[in-house]
Amino acid sequence: MKKSLIYIYIIFLFASCEKQTTWDLESEQKNIIVVDGMITNEKKEHTIKISFPVDNLNDTAKPVTGAAVVISDFNSVYTLSEQPANSGIYKTSSDFAGIPGTQYTLFISYNNIVYTAKTRLLPGIDFHPLLYEMNTDNGLFYITTVSSNYNAKHYAIWEILLDWSNVEGYQQCNPDSCKKRLLYYTLPTIDVSQTFAPSVEKIYFPTGTLITERRYSITEEHAQFIRAMLSETNWTGGFFDSSHSNVPTNISNGAIGFFSACGVETLYLSVIP
């Protein structure tokens, strides 16, 4: 589907052109914090990243350090510690695991302001593994199908981890260049800008690549946040853009970002010809 629509693009815009440009943006003082945090039902260290916005593209975000961060499920309170120090990354203990069906509240205290966010952890759901195909031009593989983009009831984030750092012929490469993290989504909405989204960077991987496929169950509010974020990032720059506006949040007191809790199911695959 996607591929075909990209072809439509090529033909439809037979004289179109995209060029790099420079653009002077109005920058405004943004005294707000950005929260990027997710907890799951996996037993591990979970992280909440807190940072400040940046004025320009590719600027490095300044971390929000020294905040007090706790997560509560009404029965217990879990305190997160900033690790490493002054990184703006706050971690739970390694034995923390969310419980499906439980409502979690995030509290962040910073500069005498308390920011809160509530979310419910939905249970994980079993799924079919993704599909991939070989590209005959280079003999490498690429992902063709992960899941349907649309489902009216069950929404999800699909995280795909690819690792071919141990595949013969790639062991000498920088390990980071042989690892990729891709995200796909199943949402309860259909959007024109999604259907006609711009081309996405193609990731190819060799035989023997290890694939970790994770499905995160997400709430409707989380799905709405993702849809809005995609509208402002991956889906913008096509030929059917919708009007731009700020992405919603579930954090109180003017903070931005999102705090989520997800039930996760995982599959492991190895790429075979």
């Binding site: 439809f12 815009l13 179109s16 109005e26 990032t233």
Partner: protein
């Protein structure tokens, strides 16, 4: 030197300065050439002297010379004149007009001749006092002499009087005059005028066939006739004939009615390859496009690169921007009334054209000469060679078909049946499979009309029409999983025109419509998925509109049009209606039974315009009109291309949109009536305007009405136009300054913001040079301020995404838009050839200097290994994001071959 160069550069870069200078120079040269002498003040004190002596004195004082025939002018009449510091014009009125002498300014000379026309007072008296003189009516049709096509908007008037009329949309006219001798003038733009002398002693039926004036093509013509002063009109409505449109460069060689209209001041284009347009601050769905009276909901092919109505089928186009007659309603901003050809009543013709992107063929002819005829025009895309270039097995197909039958049953009855279908399909076939993916939309329109002349003064037209628009987005390869939206309507209407007398034309009518719309539902073949998908309620509505209007001539200088339209709208079941609280959460659901009424709205719409003519060559016009719109497109798209559209009616959650528009216009002719200048200022206030919640879910949402936000918009502007319509060299220069703002509750923190189609400065320049033999050269240049866009004031990082952070809505602007299109037509027949076989070649260049006009600027892409701009996939890598701008339609040359035999 450097400074002067800088000034020159600044001047050339400033289109406003150029326009102001142009108009200033024009006024200083043309206006003063003719008027300077008459406005100078003189003092004369002469008692009981001849007119000849007065003229000598005036020549002494002013250097003004007179030309006259001494046998016709009573030079020896004695006059007394005492004028102190009076204008020459006032002196002339005193000595000439009072002595039955008319003066004309021709080539800087004052030409004297006997006053020919009856005084207006006599005219009024004779036309209104039936006891003094009996009145009789001349009525009939005006047609093209070669094709038998009726002529719409042709002028019929009695020479030397103020009494005249136009042919209506069916070529019919009726003119009532007092008994007497008249020279009746029949004229129409692009045709040779006819003068017919009658001794009016009884009612007469006179139909004429006017002869088209050769290959000469005249430019866009405002509804005006230079020979009749009361018809001078400012810019509120525009009339385009197909010959005029044909000389304007279209996209890739295709003549394009919508894009031609976009070159008219006050009608703003979106940009390259788009049929979307915005009239005087109105949204694009506030334009009503009628094809033989039936509305067409999506007039585009191939996302908007082509207009869906084939140019060969068009007979007449009239565009109303503000001065809406009461017979039109349903949209706030404009009415584009397109009439298609009836079919040649004299002989059969085959014509067509072939080009790299489209081909079309037209067949027309009589079933029975001067009694009945047919018309068929079909156009199809030839664009699959593009898919070969791209190496895919994509299909790009669009076509449209116009057919029409017309039959003159009796002297008083005529029937028309017309049908239009337009279809677009963009799909990809998988090898070895019948499966396709793709998009499909289509418009289907059908109209049956009956013209009936009850008597010499009463004309009626009864129309039954139906229109349907369907949009499919195929989601799955089986072609049976799709998203579909649609809108349809069926209407019966009757209009009566009563030509009461020479000074009053009354119109009235009633229209009854049924509307149905599907705001978008998904169909899946998998019954399990289908079960879990929500059903979006459909809408059904009924509408009744009645109107009455009168066009009245009050004095020889003042005329008035006044009318009232009363639409009544009603929504009926079966449907579900959701009610929302102030937080836009559903608080109640009403299940409405079949045919059960649940919402009614009505809004009287007064329309009035006053026109005052200062002279034969200048007039001022003031208009007020209220319009109401009950049905609208819900879309938060800012794309220039028509995409998935959701039409919904007003209802408990959506109040009818209303607009009040005031305009004041001035028109003047110069230079032997060959140059026309018009200026019009307008102010428009609209209420119940729609905008959307941030990231509103518009495509597949049962609660779509909860995504809407309401408020007001207002726009104002000044439109200037200077045009030359006669001769080998014709064209126009138009300039518009206008603004449009919105204030919507819940959007932009409730603060005012400019609409995304707010483009303050707009210049259009159109020139044509017709050698009269083989060649026609034409150029069209458009300039617009860049559209308003929302750009980030910063960014933040979330899970590997660079998420933009916004401040005010539409806080920024795209670069200014400008483009030059060129057209050369080579007529391949010998000059003056009377052969039936006529052929020509048309060469066009769209965007001749390859200006990259961006439609968007984005901050979300990287460059991949192949040098393409793509969205990054790896969320763990540190990508350098690059700002990019996208433009469509670069330099596009095209050639097409046209033939007719």
């Amino acid at each position: 030197m450097k400074r002067s160069n800088n000034l020159l550069t600044y001047f050339l870069k400033s289109p406003i300065l150029i326009v102001i200078t142009f108009f200033a120079v024009l006024f200083l040269t043309i206006e003063n050439t003719h008027a300077q002498d008459l406005n100078q003040k003189i003092s004369v004190n002469l008692k009981n002297v001849t007119i000849s002596e007065v003229m000598t004195k005036i020549t002494e004082l002013t250097q003004i010379n007179f030309t006259y025939s001494s046998t016709q002018i009573p030079l020896n009449n004695k006059v007394t004149i005492k004028a102190k510091n009076k204008t020459v014009k006032e002196v002339f009125e005193k000595i000439f007009t009072e002595n039955g002498i008319e003066y004309l300014i021709i080539e800087k000379q004052i030409v004297l001749r006997p006053l020919q026309k009856e005084s207006f007072q006599n005219t009024i008296a004779s036309s209104t006092n039936s006891k003094e003189k009996k009145k009789y009516t001349i009525s009939g049709y005006l047609k093209d002499s070669k094709t038998g096509e009726i002529l719409i908007g042709a002028t019929v008037y009695a020479k030397g009087t103020i009494m005249g009329t136009f042919t209506n949309g069916y070529g019919f006219y009726s003119l009532t005059l007092p008994e007497g001798d008249y020279d009746i003038i029949y004229s129409f733009i692009g045709y040779t005028s006819i003068s017919h002398h009658i001794d009016l002693k009884e009612n007469k039926k006179i139909s004429y066939e006017l002869e088209a004036s050769n290959f000469e093509i005249k430019a866009v013509e405002i509804v005006a006739d230079k020979e009749n002063e009361k018809l001078v009109s400012p810019l509120s409505n525009m009339k385009l004939n197909p010959r005029a449109i044909r000389q304007m460069p279209g996209f890739v060689g295709d003549v394009d009615i919508i894009k031609s209209l976009q070159a008219v001041p006050g009608i703003k284009a979106y940009g390259d390859g788009s049929t979307l347009f915005y009239v005087r601050g109105g949204n694009s769905d506030q334009n009503l496009i009628l094809v033989d009276e039936a509305p067409i909901y999506n007039p585009s092919h191939f996302f908007g690169f082509f207009t869906a109505i084939a140019p060969d089928a068009i007979k007449d186009v009239e565009a109303y921007k503000g001065d809406f007659p009461a017979s039109y309603g349903g949209r706030l901003s404009s009415v584009i009334d397109i009439k298609t050809k009836d079919g040649n009543m004299k002989e059969a013709f085959l014509s067509g054209s072939m080009g790299p992107f489209t081909s079309n063929i037209t067949i027309e002819g009589p079933f029975k000469k001067d009694k009945s005829s047919f018309f068929f025009s079909g156009r199809r895309s030839n664009m699959n060679w593009l898919s070969s270039l791209s190496g895919t097995n994509m299909k790009i197909i669009f076509f449209d078909i116009n057919t029409k039958l017309n039959y003159i049953a009796t002297e008083n009855d005529r029937f028309f049946i017309s049908f239009y279908v337009g279809n677009d399909l963009l799909s990809r076939s998988l090898s070895g499979s019948k499966n396709n993916y793709g998009i499909n939309w289509n418009n289907v329109l059908g109209t049956i009309r009956w013209n009936h002349i009850y008597n010499k003064k009463l004309f009626s037209n009864t129309t039954i029409y139906s229109s349907k628009y369907n949009y499919y987005l195929y989601l799955s390869k089986e072609y049976s999983d799709y998203w579909n939206s649609s809108i349809s309507n069926g209407t019966i209407k009757t209009d009566f025109t009563y030509y009461a007398n020479a000074l009053n034309t009354l119109k009235t009518g009633i229209e009854i419509s049924s509307h149905a719309s599907n705001p978008g539902n998904v169909h899946f073949t998998d019954s399990l998925i289908q079960k879990s998908t929500p059903v979006i309620p459909r809408y059904n509505s009924r509408e009744i509109d009645i109107y009455i209007s009168n066009e009245q001539t009050i004095t020889d200088k003042l005329s008035v049009y006044y009318g009232l339209r009363l639409p009544v709208w009603r929504n009926i079941g079966e449907t579900s209606v959701y009610y929302f609280n102030s937080s836009y959460e559903v608080i109640d659901t009403l299940l409405v039974g079949d045919k059960e009424s649940y919402y009614t709205a009505s809004s009287p719409e007064p329309r009035i315009n006053l026109k005052y003519s200062f002279s034969k060559n200048s007039a001022v016009k003031a208009c007020y009109s209220r319009t109401t719109q009950f049905i609208q497109v819900l879309s938060n798209s800012i794309s220039p291309f028509t995409s998935l559209e959701v039409w919904v009616p007003c209802g408990p959650n959506i109040k009818p949109q209303k607009s009040d528009q005031f305009s004041l216009g001035y028109a003047k002719r110069f230079y032997k009536n060959n140059l026309n200048f018009s200026a019009e200022a307008f102010y428009k206030n609209c209420i119940n305007q729609i905008d959307y919640e941030d990231h509103a879910n518009m495509l597949y949402n049962p609660l779509i009405e909860g995504e809407l936000r309401f408020g007001k918009s207002w726009s104002y502007g000044l439109e200037l136009m200077l045009r030359k319509t006669e001769g080998k060299f014709s064209g126009w220069l138009g300039y518009t300054y206008s603004r449009v703002f919105k204030k919507i509750e819940g959007v932009n923190n409730n603060e005012t913001y400019p609409a995304f189609y707010d483009r303050p400065n707009d210049i259009t320049l159109n020139f044509s040079y017709n050698t009269g033999k083989h060649w026609l050269f034409s150029a069209n240049w458009i300039y617009m301020t860049g559209g308003a866009i929302t750009t980030p004031i910063g960014f933040y990082y979330y899970d590997g995404y660079n998420v933009p952070l916004y401040g005010d809505k539409n806080n920024d602007r795209l670069p200014d838009y400008h483009r030059l299109d060129l057209l050369v037509t080579l007529k391949l027949n010998r000059p003056g050839s009377v052969k039936k076989f006529q052929h020509s070649c048309t060469f066009t260049i769209y965007n001749a200097y390859a200006r990259k006009n961006p439609i968007s600027v984005d901050f979300n892409k990287i460059i991949d290994d192949n040098g393409n701009f793509v969205i990054p996939s790896d969320h763990d890598s540190q990508n350098e994001i690059i700002p990019t701008k996208i433009s469509v339609a670069g330099f596009i040359p095209s050639i097409s071959y046209n033939f007719k035999f």
